[in-house]
Symmetry: C2
């Protein structure tokens, strides 16, 4: 029988996270203070995040060691599988070799657990006993709830209303792990109350939920704030994905010509892509890295590379990134985890200097690929993950046309067991693809802060 699995032993869980900053031609621009627009001091940053996480954000070391206590928790699901999608290849009649790395095996069903565990660990180490966060699709919330259960920390989550309403069972999962979950906008925070006054039926946004979680964390010194995406340390922790994939491709005696991932905040792309970019930057191997975003929230393909806030209210530091503007309220597409106005500064920078390609996809296009993937490979991918699948399927179809025998790696960031109402919409033909006109986009971009370039 043909091989389809490339299995690593638990002793091969990466011992270090990979920090791409060490290998980039320049250091990407650092965050600015939201009011003074000056580079932020460590003290200023420290009120929100654990010291070790800030140290990692500022680090230029190539490798940062993974503490044993974290690797022990990683052992609950890592190394994650790399598989050859032979049934999918056959269905597409392609000479391409399609591989997928599957993060849906984690306790929380997505790659988010990879960073939730170290974030809770470092906060707990410095005595933080409660963590707040926001969540979009709900996957980050579940991940933080799981990690807090593992390390005995209290967990409080603000969840964007649209997803909170669509996915009641993902809330039950957070409950099972012992977390407290609020629908955002919530009446608990200043920011939430203002949003509810403006629109009592608001379905929220990730930016707004960030504002709520940050407000609560800032009000209590024993409470920290954890961030599921965009931050440097988040991408750093996710590099276990790409490092494992490289070891697994060695078992397959193959190497990807192209690495594909969906992007919302950018952590999955950074996680799978940066270790491959290391090989490229060192001149050892060449690989295209492709970021796939929803057409309804096109930060990389139609946004600007400029300074912007991470949240709607301008409470977070200013970051240099691709953005459609922090005032952007995306349409309620099913890939809740990709409804974010900005993009990780690190992913933005690698895109800016040409290391990463980008494309945007409609959700119908994505679910078509998702259903094909379910019927061939048996995995029901999260709506977010179907964005990568749609791009991989197209790449493989192009190979069928040209006869090219490319090796394609696509990251499946999680399972869609709590997203079946989205599949229902697709299967029943009621799914719509919201359009974003240039005029609408321009309006959101007009609210961007005006910052004098420092450099």
């Amino acid at each position: 029988m043909n091989r389809t699995q490339y299995v690593l032993d638990e002793t091969e869980i990466p011992t270090h996270w990979y920090n791409i900053v060490a290998d980039l031609p320049q250091r990407p621009p650092r965050p600015l203070h939201p009011r003074t627009h000056q580079p932020m001091s460590a003290e200023e940053m420290g009120s929100l995040s654990a010291r070790e996480l800030l140290r990692q954000d500022g680090s230029t070391e190539r490798f940062i060691e993974v503490p044993d206590d974290i690797r022990r928790i990683y052992q609950l699901w890592r190394p994650s599988p790399l598989r050859r999608a032979r049934a999918l290849e056959k269905a597409l009649g392609t000479p391409a070799r399609i591989y997928y790395k599957y993060e849906g095996v984690s306790p929380t069903g997505s790659h988010k657990a990879n960073t939730a565990v170290p974030q809770v660990y470092y906060n707990a180490q410095q005595g933080i006993r409660r963590l707040t966060t926001e969540t979009g699709a709900g996957q980050w919330g579940v991940a933080l709830a799981f990690a807090c259960a593992q390390l005995d920390v209290t967990c409080e989550i603000w969840w964007t209303g649209i997803s909170y309403d669509q996915k009641p069972y993902r809330k039950s999962l957070m409950d099972t792990f012992g977390a407290t979950v609020h629908r955002s906008p919530s009446p608990i925070t200043e920011v939430g109350r203002r949003a509810l006054e403006a629109d009592p039926s608001s379905f929220g946004s990730i930016g707004l939920a960030v504002s709520e979680a940050v407000e609560v964390a800032l009000a209590d010194e024993n409470t920290g704030y954890a961030l599921g995406s965009t931050a440097g340390h988040v991408l750093l922790h996710q590099t276990v994905i790409g490092q494992e994939a490289i070891a697994q491709f060695a078992l397959a005696e193959d190497y990807p010509d192209v690495v594909i991932s969906c992007v919302g905040g950018g952590s999955s792309l950074g996680g799978v892509g940066f270790p491959f970019l290391r090989e490229k930057l060192a001149g050892r191997r060449d690989t295209r890295v492709v970021a796939v975003e929803p057409a309804a929230c096109p930060a990389l393909t139609r946004g600007r590379y400029t300074w912007d806030y991470g949240d709607m209210e301008g409470l977070t530091p200013l970051m240099k990134m691709y953005t459609v503007g922090h005032a952007f309220v995306p349409e309620p597409i099913h890939a809740g985890g990709l409804r974010y106005h900005g993009m990780s500064p690190l992913v933005s920078y690698t895109r800016h200097i040409g290391l990463v390609e980008a494309q945007a996809r409609t959700q119908t296009d994505c679910f078509t690929a998702g259903v094909l993937f379910a019927r061939t490979e048996g995995i029901l991918a999260a709506p977010e993950s179907t964005h990568g699948l749609a791009a991989a399927v197209d790449e493989a179809k192009r190979c069928a046309d040209t006869g090219e025998e490319k090796a394609i790696l696509v990251l499946v960031t999680g399972h869609g067991h709590f997203d079946l109402s989205a599949y229902d919409s697709y299967l029943s033909g009621t799914l719509v693809d919201p359009e974003l006109t240039d005029e609408q986009l321009e309006k959101f971009l007009s609210h961007l802060p005006i910052i004098e370039e420092q450099q």
Copy 2:
């Protein structure tokens, strides 16, 4: 770091299924015709099941080869993980070593896929283009839908009303795999119409759904019927679980003193337990095998070992088995897959001759273990699987009291991602444990058919 994973390569997927009949002191009683009460001929059986499956049911060979086309589909998820539950052990403060074999990694989220694939395969081989079946918790329905998608066979499913209503998203999953799903009782069948007349708000039972699926299959010669549990071939196919576990224990340089599984129809217990009983029957190793059933449906612990029908209407062959009577309508507990009046004849026979122990558990007891398992090992087990977990936790606690260093293997048959409303009930304190009085039970047993023993 301590090891927690015992990983097999895909080349180690078992090449043969193990048939315990070859090693039993006597051949277990064979099915009788539902009307004549005479042993059934191959022709009579043939109207319902594929010929090769009937051959397997009657086989006394010790090993039956797994065709390569089936192993290729097994590769999508097998070998399944065996893990040491170190976090659970720590939480219990036990000197016991707890291992779990996890079937929730299958495309359909449970062990049912192990037999769905060969059943569809052998039916397709003899030209059957449509399969009907019933499903209780929904896991078997999803499994058959998946296998039919893999092998291009039409799939039609009758789902017990109680679970159909509780688990809308498991229906969406069957839809995604391309199956047609009916709520049982349905107005499509004679049997269903009669049940709806008697009680228009009936929440159904597995027995009733069996009757509907069988009725439709009998009416069309190109339509077959597939059975998710109880049949000999189902247990046979599930033995990949126990065989893999034995190989994985060799990697762990350990061996279980006790093997635990939940039982509904008995296929998971047979699957994990029979390969260990082979070692016991051959005198090579000794292991206790423990079946755990719900207190609300106590076939093994309070039922009779006698002849009974597999369905409510008396359409199926008569089987010698532990049963609470085919007229039994269990209370709507959350472990829908365990709400079956009978028990696989093979499991019943091994229990009858003392090879298998049995115990019954309330659902509150089970969810307590399920939540502990989720918070320690990170896996949200199906309500069915929590029955095994509850027994394993108690066994480990006894070891904490006595100081015994037992090795415990518990089978986690599937994930509970579609059962979160059940966890909700438990966490909110609204879960009830229905009581079954001796008087109620006696009433159901009074409807048992009276059969003259043949031998």
